[in-house]
């Protein structure tokens, strides 16, 4: 198993390297960041000065090396706009995004798993068709539009929930629902197909043939096997939601990292944009590595192989 883990870590390092290089190159290939952010009235000397100040006059490999060195020590550069370290801004906002991501994950699980299980246990019945419809709508309704409609219904017409900001639970409900909706559909689909596969397996048949009570068959034999991939996906999805909630955070004025990215884009604050994007990549590569290693511990087929 240790070999598996070492190989997996190496892959992650390579992935990280390629990702950061990609982002680094895109920022520099698509134009002069200094020209992008400097004011139109800036003189050439000013541009030169800024360039030097940010180390942009050095060769790309050198820039990349410093960039990586800083990134690995948690230093993502300084925001042009806020004049603060990007990491400081980032970690200030991160808890909000985590809250939102967690709430959205809970919603996606609460909708996805029961619906998926019912749909699998009662396959090809009316229940199943309803679940399929929900899954289809989950993939077809754009999350941000759902957010807008929720605001329209619950804030403008019914006046039940506040439209924006953060504070108590009432602020979280709508953004979490809008964000979790799409993921609920994917949870539902995965739960259904995973349950169906396990329920149709020979070992479930044998478990029934052993005369075990139905609930033992489903809750112990089927669940463990069927829900491992589901919870794995939920974990990965949560990290994705933390990072990909840009529009939802903008709509609900939720002060998370998605909005930080949005602000960065509109203020032409490229160290900020670069930092947030790279952190997203880091986090997702991290969770994927974590999940694979965790799998290795849960699944005896991997755990006991050398």
């Amino acid at each position: 198993m240790s070999q598996f883990i070492i190989r997996r870590i190496l892959y992650s390092v390579v992935t990280l390297f390629i990702l950061s290089a990609t982002i680094f190159l895109i920022v520099r290939l698509t134009g002069d960041p200094v020209a992008l952010m400097a004011e139109a009235s800036a003189r050439p000397e000013d541009l030169e000065r800024i360039r030097h100040q940010w180390g942009l006059d050095r060769s790309w490999p050198v820039q990349y090396a410093t960039f990586m060195q800083n990134a690995l020590t948690g230093e993502l550069g300084k925001s042009f706009n806020y004049r603060l370290p990007v990491s400081e801004l980032y970690f200030q906002r991160l808890p909000n995004s985590l809250t939102l991501g967690l709430a959205a994950t809970l919603i996606s699980l609460l909708i996805g798993i029961p619906a998926g299980i019912i749909s699998a246990v009662k396959v090809n019945t009316a229940w199943d068709n309803v679940a399929k419809g929900v899954a289809l709508l989950g993939l077809s309704i754009p999350g941000f539009w759902l957010g807008l409609v929720l605001i329209l219904v619950f804030s403008v017409w019914l006046r039940w929930l506040p439209t924006s900001g953060s504070g108590d639970w009432r602020h979280v409900v709508m953004p979490a629902l809008a964000l979790g909706w799409y993921f609920a559909a994917s949870m539902l689909r995965l739960t259904r197909s995973s349950m169906l596969e396990v329920l149709g397996s020979e070992y479930i048949k044998l478990a029934r043939l052993k005369g075990l009570p139905d609930f033992v068959v489903i809750a112990m034999h089927a669940f463990k096997n069927a829900l491992i991939p589901v919870f794995t996906l939920a974990g990965v999805n949560m990290v994705v939601m933390v990072n990909a909630a840009v529009i939802i955070e903008v709509i609900f004025a939720w002060p998370g990292i998605g909005r930080l990215l949005y602000e960065g884009i509109f203020q032409r604050d490229f160290p900020l944009v670069q930092g947030v994007v790279i952190m997203a990549g880091f986090m997702i590569i991290g969770i994927n590595l974590f999940v694979d290693v965790l799998y290795a511990f849960i699944d005896p087929r991997i755990r006991l192989s050398r």
Partner: protein, 302 residues
Amino acid sequence: MATIPANTRLAARRTASGWLGALVKAAREAPLMAVIILGGLVLVALLADLIAPYDPTLPVKGAEMFVPPFWMEGGSVATPLGTDFQGRDILSRLIYGARVSLVVGLMGTLVAGGIGTAMGILSGYVGGWVDQIIMRVTDAWLALPAIVFAIFLAAMVGPSMWNIIVILGAVYWTRYARVIRGEVLTLRERDFVKLAEIAGASKLRVIKKHILPNVMNTATVLASLTVGVVIIAEASLSFLGVGVPPPQPAWGLMLSEARPTLMAGQWWLTVFPGACILLIVLATQLFGDWLRVRLDPQTRNL
């Protein structure tokens, strides 16, 4: 296991024509609703110049701003779905918006599918370090949430419809590459490919005659399911202001323009464009689902 076909050429031809045959058969049995919606939208997009009552980028002469739909108090049949914050006709903007959504959705998918299929075949068939490089790049690019990556690229490149197409192609090709590669890996072991190789066919010829025709099914299914994703992505980018620039009438942009007045209860500005996105994506999903079952039962869990 597959039986050994007597003639490799025959086997290849059979699968290739099988694909065509399946498409023809598909056309006959396509799910009615999805086809009607998609066909209608394509027609609307093509004939936008003829059927749209007004210029979508200019205010309607004599009309006020924020006129509600015709059935509401203050509504007018002249602007049946109301007007926006500049007094432009919503219906006309929706009609022209279909054009943007369809063009971006189809072209973006084409770019993504083209790059992805090529990379997947290269990676799976050539193997070795080529495979390693392509797969590591795929891993790295997949590590970023698609929307974040797209926003990042769009912010760097600048907004325009054609930029968005290239950007979304660049973001979504990785999914194709992975799936196609897996397919090619199994194909490579199939007897008709082996026999062609033994017979001395060049790599390029094997790819052209045997590999490509056999991954087309999967690529088509993936494409049908990607169109909707790309359309939503475009709407998201336009909504955030890094997509199709104003005054072009894109649905995502319309949603974005409606936002400041959402709290005033001017729901038609928000509901109509969103419903259009929902409709088109729903139709592509239905169509794609049906195509998947038809062409490629193996990808059922994608």
